[in-house]
């Protein structure tokens, strides 16, 4: 399982990075490996408002749907349409398969560094 350095992570397994006030977000390698083969992703639309800690997308494997929680509060500025056409990209390269870019960020969840997130995931795996 890869935890990429330089990104921030939520406990809901969303990675994000912030550049010039724009937050790019997707789901982590751990999340995709837990969900396995994804067959569909419901993404928000450009212009939608998202709220930190509230679902903004869902990902679907053959029998189960999982909500994806927004790491920040803001406005969806761009959506990765490629994922909608080919959700497997999320399984193949989760850190390249960004879901949305969010601007006008006003609030954020408590976020973890790569090291903290790796520890957090190890903790979950230890429980299994």
């Amino acid at each position: 399982m890869e935890v990429r350095e330089g990104l921030l992570y939520s406990r809901e397994h969303v990675w994000m990075k912030e550049e010039d006030g724009t937050v790019t977000a997707g789901i982590t390698d751990y999340a995709q490996s837990e969900l396995k083969g994804l067959v569909f992703v419901n993404l928000p639309e450009e212009g939608d408002a998202v709220t930190a800690g509230v679902p903004f997308a869902d990902v679907e494997s053959v029998k189960t749907v999982s909500d994806v929680y927004a790491p920040v509060t803001g406005t969806v500025a761009e959506v990765n349409e490629e994922l909608a056409d080919d959700p497997e990209l999320i399984n193949e390269s989760p850190y390249e398969a960004w879901f949305v870019r969010i601007t006008d960020v006003t609030d954020r969840m408590e976020l973890l560094t790569a090291g903290e997130y790796a520890e957090f995931v190890e903790g979950i795996q230890g429980q299994d």
Partner: protein, 472 residues
């Protein structure tokens, strides 16, 4: 002396012929004026021939995919000419059925183009000579003249390789490549047909999603499936011009700020249809019109008392079954009966594979109307019949009013969706609740079980759905 009828219907498409038959059933002396063939656009140039082609093209794809069931087929090919004969035989058979019903119910068929004159007089013109072949008087007139394909003002749109659905159906050879302008129902159905028949297909839609009037998940799901079948899908793309290039046609469009082009043997223009009101009204007999369509009140009456308009001519939703329901409704009103149908709940279907069907409101529309709504959604990947048939990803969504559980609408994309949506149209029109729909047991194994699951999912209790997972 003019011959008099209780009801004269102008146009024998689904709206017109159903109105005429119902009027005759209720004892009214009825005539229908038709310039072409009975059955209108739907039967002769629309739904029916398109569905016949989908029947054949989907079967071809199934045969190609038969290896997964252990069936060996060898080389599979098809004869386009025979496919067209099958299609025309199907159309002929259904049309003869309609003609037979009109005759058997004693409806007089007046051949020619009908024109409404003052005082509910109908003049019938012979299409070729333009001469008046008859003048009739009516107690009530039902205008059901239908619609024709709309042609947008795009430079190059009148080049010979640019066709409407009428022209595409007339081609005697399968196009090797086809660019389709318009990602509505007509566009996506023809894209499916020709892609399955091996043509290279590009689909261009101006709105952000295919089937822009449908639920967004439907449009996303469809786009994913069509792309997997090799169809080029371009959305938020506006067509700038069409150019001829060595006998082929380049459709130049702008997508995401960039100019792109699709070059193909033919271009299908499928951007909608406009009411066919030309020549329908004599001097002083024109009812109130708005943007090309005849204006009607809630009872489908035009601004002229005793003159009604139904179907595509009256604007609004352009679907054969709505035209038919409106025709029956008007005929019943004229005969002094109380119509049964509630015309507010109109199912819409798209015959791609999987099929798409919807009725009433989406969750988003309910919210926009200030209704506290909740939706039950079931993924057909967990439905036995869908797994057996190796269906593509599909789902059923049922939208309900939170407080009462009353069904507000449904959206579905799965096998047999077009057959299943009627149940929800009936439920919504009758104000039935989730619990009332769950009273009946659905048989196993069927696609219809997915409906019960979606109803149960409103309260999070679908049996064959993993509990929603929270990541983390």
């Amino acid at each position: 002396m003019r011959e008099r009828y209780d009801v004269i219907v102008v146009g024998a498409g689904p709206g017109g012929y159903m109105a005429a038959i119902r009027a005759a059933q209720l004892g009214l002396r009825t005539a229908v004026v038709e310039k072409g063939r009975a059955g209108g656009t739907c039967l002769n140039r629309g739904c029916i021939p398109a569905k016949a082609m989908l029947q054949a093209s989907a079967l071809l794809r199934s045969i190609k995919e038969a290896g997964q069931y252990g069936i060996r087929t060898g080389e599979v090919s098809f004869d386009y000419g025979k496919l067209l004969s099958y299609r025309e035989e199907t159309v002929d058979r259904l049309r003869q059925g309609v003609e037979g019903l009109l005759a058997a119910n004693g409806v007089a068929v007046l051949a020619g183009r009908g024109r409404l004159e003052k005082g509910k007089v109908i003049k019938v013109f012979r299409e070729t000579a333009g001469e008046v072949s008859g003048e009739y008087e009516a107690g009530a007139v039902i205008l059901a003249a239908g619609s024709v394909p709309a042609i947008p003002p795009i430079p190059g749109i009148s080049l010979p390789g640019v066709l409407t659905s009428d022209g595409l159906l007339e081609l005697k050879e399968r196009p090797e490549s086809l660019t389709i302008i318009g990602g509505g129902a007509v566009g996506v159905e023809f894209a499916s047909i020709y892609a399955d028949l091996g043509s290279r297909v590009e689909l261009i839609e101006a709105m952000p999603g295919l089937l822009p009037n449908m639920d967004r998940e439907i449009s996303q799901n469809l786009r994913m499936i069509l792309k997997k079948r090799g169809i080029g899908v371009h959305t938020s793309a506006s067509v700038r011009r069409i150019e001829e290039r060595n006998g082929r046609y380049a459709c130049v469009f702008e997508e995401k700020g960039k100019e792109r082009e699709a070059v193909s043997e033919y271009i299908l223009c499928a951007v909608g249809r406009r009411p066919a009101a030309e020549g329908l009204f004599g001097e002083g007999a024109e009812p109130a019109m708005e943007r090309g369509h005849v204006v009607t009140d809630a009872g489908l009456c035009t601004s002229i008392p005793g003159v009604y308009a139904v179907g595509d001519l009256a604007g609004g939703i352009q679907l054969a079954h709505l035209a038919g329901a409106q025709g029956i409704y008007v005929a019943e009103r004229i005969a002094g009966e109380e119509p049964a149908a509630d015309l507010r709940y109109v199912p819409a279907c798209v015959y791609t594979e999987p099929e798409i069907a919807s009725v009433g409101m989406t969750q988003k529309e309910a919210e926009e109307n200030g209704i506290d709504a909740e939706t039950g959604k079931f993924l057909m990947g967990a439905n036995g019949r869908s797994v057996i048939a190796r269906e593509e990803r599909g789902f059923i969504k049922i939208v309900t009013e939170k407080e009462t559980g009353v069904i507000l609408g449904a959206q579905m994309m799965c096998a047999r969706a077009s057959d299943m949506i009627g149940e929800l149209a009936a439920a919504a029109a009758n104000g039935l609740t989730v619990r009332q729909l769950l009273k009946g047991i659905r048989p196993h194994p069927t696609y219809n079980e997915g409906m019960a699951e979606a109803l149960e999912a409103v309260s999070g209790k679908a049996i064959h759905a993993m509990p929603a997972r929270r990541l983390g």
